[in-house]
């Protein structure tokens, strides 16, 4: 199930909230969350829900074992076993088709390509279990003794299918003991409304522009290619950060404090900063667990960097363009590292901004085209080698037809809410007025989003299948 559908917003969620409110203590509340989370997952994956539960059981067991044999061989065995199991499952269910296809292409062999449907959210929950096991191995977290609580951690439906990748350490305490104040609930609901409107009012609308131009890249003009790519970059941002907003908001309603996943990535000054602001839970995961894997010996700095970016690419999907995409970013981060922070700062900001925006937009174009031939067409078109002209009448019409939408999207890439908050937080009166205005805005956005959803047939979150 996705969040951006009426059935979730007006049937699943209110019923879940009702039961949650009726539950008397944390123990009961946890049961409500587990049942609704499993229901949520089984709604779309009535079979793979068992795979997820087996994964939970194995990692739970491994976590206990690591605790029992702390520092001994059993610890290492359990760690390796769980991590290998996790990645094996991810490999089988996400990458086997891709791997076999490439083996076939390389060796011109004829191994039948397995046709496995990707279990929803496997990329996300695998990383969660791995983070738990490694943290456990490093003794950063206490072992979770109750399977029920571990299952809750893994299946918690706000973050189950499309992140953020919540670390066990983040909500370790809150699983067993948490209090939700009315301000938490209020904040959470507002955040959900914000996330939904980002997805429905902006991302879904931008997707029409993006598909219009990038979908017909062979006949698009220079302007169309860039317009489409910019729309697509913003679409992904509003789509995914909207999803994270909903997850964080719902988490807060239930008393969990997830870490932020996006921090206005498009205002970054360079690519390194972009990745500090984009999908933070993924980049910190790689930073914490992969960057210092000592397989590159003395060259670990650059080797680790390469590995991180390769994995970032692969993680996003079983296709060459994602790998290319990861490595592409890796190259720019590497270059920025070589230039050095101080020297980067010496470059005029205007040039840095143009540089990073072009890199990011082209990056999203790579992300868009799973067909590398079409990606080639994009590069030819975008840089004026396709002979389709600079700008056509359809570009002008489409731009004009969507001008307010595009302006709104660009404006919303800036940290507007933070700016307003900074201003209004100065006195209690302005702060209160701002809160009331927020209430009105949230209700209006939710209403508007709901009306739009009547028409928009399901439009799944793009990060759903990654």
């Amino acid at each position: 199930m996705v969040f951006s559908r009426l059935f979730f917003i007006y049937i699943f969620l209110p019923i879940c909230l009702l039961f949650y409110a009726l539950a008397r203590n944390v123990k009961q509340k946890n049961w409500v969350l587990i049942i609704f989370s499993l229901l949520f997952y089984a709604w779309g994956e009535p079979v793979y829900v068992f795979l997820m539960m087996i994964t939970a059981l194995i990692n739970y067991g491994a976590g206990r074992m690591i605790g029992r044999y702390q520092g001994k061989a059993g610890d290492t065995i359990a760690t390796y076993f769980a991590v290998i199991y996790d990645f094996l499952m991810l490999g089988i269910f996400k990458y086997s088709g891709f791997i076999v296809e490439n083996i076939n292409a390389l060796l011109s062999s004829d191994i039948p390509v397995p046709d496995i449907k990707l279990p929803i959210g496997i990329s996300f929950y695998t990383f969660q279990t791995v983070s738990y096991i490694i943290d456990r191995h490093w003794e950063d977290v206490k072992p979770q003794k109750s399977f029920k609580n571990f299952l809750l951690y893994l299946t918690l439906f706000p973050q189950l299918v499309a992140g953020p990748i919540v670390r066990y350490s983040t909500i370790e305490k809150e699983i067993e003991d948490r209090k939700t104040s009315i301000t938490d609930i209020s904040y959470g609901l507002n955040r959900v409304a914000l996330g939904l409107s980002k997805k429905v009012l902006i991302a879904n609308q931008l997707s029409i522009i993006a598909d219009n131009f990038l979908g017909n890249i062979e006949s698009t003009t220079v302007f169309g290619a860039w317009f489409g790519a910019i729309a697509y970059a913003m679409q992904i941002y509003f789509d995914f950060s909207g999803y994270s907003d909903i997850a964080i908001g719902l988490g807060r309603v239930f008393g969990f404090h997830f870490d932020e996943n996006f921090n206005h990535p498009f205002i970054c000054k360079d690519i390194t900063e972009f990745w500090q602001r984009w999908h933070i839970s993924l980049s910190t995961f790689f930073r914490d667990y992969l960057l210092y894997v000592p397989i590159f010996g003395k060259r670990r700095k650059y080797g680790g960097l390469f590995l991180v970016w390769l994995c970032t690419g692969i993680w996003h999907g079983a296709s060459w363009n994602f790998i290319l995409w990861g490595v592409y970013y890796g190259i720019f981060v590497f270059l920025e590292m070589k230039i050095g922070k101080k020297n980067m700062k010496k470059i005029p900001i205007i040039i840095r901004q143009i540089y990073n925006k072009i890199v990011i937009i082209v990056g999203f174009a790579i992300f868009y085209f799973e067909d590398l031939g079409k990606l080639g067409s994009f590069f030819r078109t975008a840089f004026g080698f396709s002979g389709n002209g600079l700008i056509g009448i359809q570009d002008k019409i489409s731009f004009m037809n969507n001008i307010y939408l595009v302006i709104l999207a660009v404006v919303c890439c800036f940290p507007l809410i933070e700016w307003v908050k900074k201003l209004t937080d100065k006195t209690f009166f302005t702060k209160s007025v701002a809160s009331l205005v927020t209430t009105v805005c949230s209700a209006a956005l939710l209403l508007l989003t709901s009306v739009m959803l009547v028409d928009a047939t399901t439009n799944p979150f793009l990060y759903f299948r990654f």
Partner: protein, 555 residues
């Protein structure tokens, strides 16, 4: 909570120590020791860290009272016996105490204010939860208990139905998804909400372009076909929307219901200019020759039959504003190419007469079909080519239907079309005709009327007045005795030809290329066909529909 307590307890302890030392009868307190000032520091700290918990209240007051207490006692104390110096110190000390008292008062005030603020903040939070939560609760009741819609008129389809439970559908995830689809698809008052979107929300996206108020809609890109899992209304009730549109409204999960034309080579984009929707013709790119070859094969198989090809241009050939012609490929060019490729088949030129009458209402503004008047002029051209009589238009009864908002609105959801409905005018033969319809196997004949009753039609589907596509219609004209029997292979454009050709032939058999399940050559022989007309629009002739022409002959 425990942390707050810790913070609060420490200044309080300090306070007590201070007070103890300050006692007038304690010589150590008045010995010029600067210690009495000490309580001030933690007080400040307490003021800032305090979170105004209610239990704090009495504790705070206590030291404050005591601080006032010593004041009168002091002059009566040892100070009298002391020298001047202590007097000065006493003054200083009392100033310090005043300052301390002031601080405490400020602190009290601050705490009171903070409590009030917290109360207000919580109150606003309650209002917020009530507003957003109330919306959720109301929406929930609305979705669960209000009457759900079953049909969408402007999308021309049945809405999703509540799924039936089977183990198989459950484990495929179809059952649960079906439930969610049902609720999403059948929202009470769905059409009202959709009109709100069309009229008030979508226009906020941007502006219309240029003097012609142009909008561009790319239905090929909107991917709206992901959810609607129900078949189009047309497939069962037999209303004849053309290929290009029904398919988009049906589903990708029901392959049998999908017409192949939807993923044709030509992008189904729609330009709206001057309140007229125009499908953007993307060109045949060689497919037109294939069409001609297929038709040629029919002629080869039926050498004695006169075979004609009437490919109707669409509105774009006549109504595209000059500035936007670059967006379109030329239909005329492809029509000419078809004509050159036909062998022993007569190409009927509908383009020229239609162009001559472009100032009349020959094409719908809101629908992708032509108006019956356009079909009349095309039929006239065909009658001339076939050498048969053709009735002037005033011999027909003119029927006007009002408020027509056709398929192009369903596609684009554009307010420019919704709010500018048009007339739909058709021409009814006055003489009696015998009309029989068969299924696509030429079985199960039933007597029917030439037209469906317009009162049974929705304002979005007036073109259905000509009847359904999934049938073979036979019109027998007892008053015509020219020995000519016409078989028409057509798409939905051809439907409008039947009434105006009815007086030119003894018998007309009208068959849809998409729903024809017998061999066309055998059929032609069986009905003693003398003339065979292929009548369809450019989209069908050069799009994937052309394959039906080939397949029907070879299957």
């Amino acid at each position: 909570m425990s942390e707050i307590n810790k913070n609060n307890s420490s200044p309080e302890n300090v306070e007590y120590v201070g007070r103890y030392e300050k006692r007038p009868d304690n010589p150590a307190a008045s010995s010029g020791n600067p210690r009495p000032l000490k309580p001030l520091k933690p007080l400040k700290k307490a003021g800032t860290t305090s979170s105004a918990s209610q239990t704090e209240k009495p504790r705070v007051r206590k030291p404050a009272e005591n601080a006032q207490g010593p004041k009168p006692a002091r002059p009566a104390g040892q100070t009298v016996r002391r020298t001047d110096a202590p007097v000065g110190k006493k003054k200083k000390k009392s100033a310090a105490e005043k300052e301390a008292a002031r601080q405490r008062a400020i602190k009290r005030k601050q705490e009171k204010r903070e409590r009030r603020h917290n109360k207000i903040t919580r109150g606003i939070a309650w209002v917020n939860v009530a507003a957003v939560g109330g919306l959720l609760a109301f929406g929930s009741v609305y979705m669960l208990f209000f009457k759900h819609e079953t049909i969408s008129q402007d999308e021309n389809r049945y809405l999703a139905k509540f799924p039936e439970f089977t183990a198989e559908s459950y484990f495929k995830g179809e059952y649960t998804e079906g439930i969610a689809d049902y609720y999403d698809d059948t929202v009470p008052n769905r059409d009202t909400f959709k009109k709100i979107i069309t009229n008030y929300i979508t226009p906020l996206k941007g502006r219309k372009f240029g003097d012609d108020e142009v909008e561009l809609h790319g239905i090929a890109f909107e991917k709206k076909d992901t959810q609607t899992t129900t078949a189009a209304v047309t497939t069962t009730s037999g209303t004849g929307t053309a290929v290009e549109t029904t398919a988009a409204e049906t589903t990708t999960t029901l392959p049998s219901a999908v017409d192949p034309a939807v993923d044709g080579e030509m992008a189904n984009n729609i330009l709206i200019a001057n309140n007229r929707g125009i499908m953007i013709y993307g060109g045949a790119w060689g497919n037109e020759k294939e069409y001609a070859e297929y038709v040629n094969e029919y002629k080869e198989a039926l050498p004695k039959v006169n075979v004609y090809s009437l490919v109707a241009p669409t509105a774009c050939s006549f109504y595209t504003p000059e500035n936007y012609k670059d967006l379109f490929e030329s239909e005329k060019k492809d029509l000419d190419s078809i004509k050159r490729s036909l062998k022993n088949v007569t190409a009927v030129d509908a383009y020229t007469p239609l162009l001559a009458h472009k100032n009349e209402d020959i094409y719908s503004r809101t629908d992708h079909h032509w108006q019956p008047l356009g079909a009349y002029y095309a039929a006239e051209a065909f009658a001339e080519a076939a050498g048969v009589d053709f009735d002037p238009i005033d011999k027909y009864q003119k029927v006007t239907l009002y408020g027509f908002v056709g398929t192009l609105y369903g596609y684009t959801q554009s307010a420019a079309l919704l709010n500018n409905p048009e007339k739909f005018i058709y021409y009814k033969p006055k003489n009696t005709l015998k009309v029989t319809q068969y299924d696509s196997y030429f079985q199960n004949p039933t007597e029917v009327e030439l037209f469906l009753k317009p009162t049974t039609l929705d304002t979005s589907s007036y073109y259905m007045v000509f009847g359904s596509d999934e049938r073979i219609a036979h019109v027998n004209n007892p008053s015509c005795k020219n020995g000519r029997n016409l078989v028409i292979f057509k798409d939905s454009y051809g439907n409008a030809l039947l009434p105006v050709l009815a007086n030119s032939f003894e018998n007309i058999y009208m068959c849809d290329i998409r729903y024809f399940n017998i061999n066309p050559v055998d059929f032609a022989k069986e009905v003693k066909c003398t003339d065979m007309l292929f009548a369809m629009c450019t989209y069908s002739a050069v799009g994937p529909n052309r394959d039906y022409i080939y397949n029907n002959l070879h299957n």
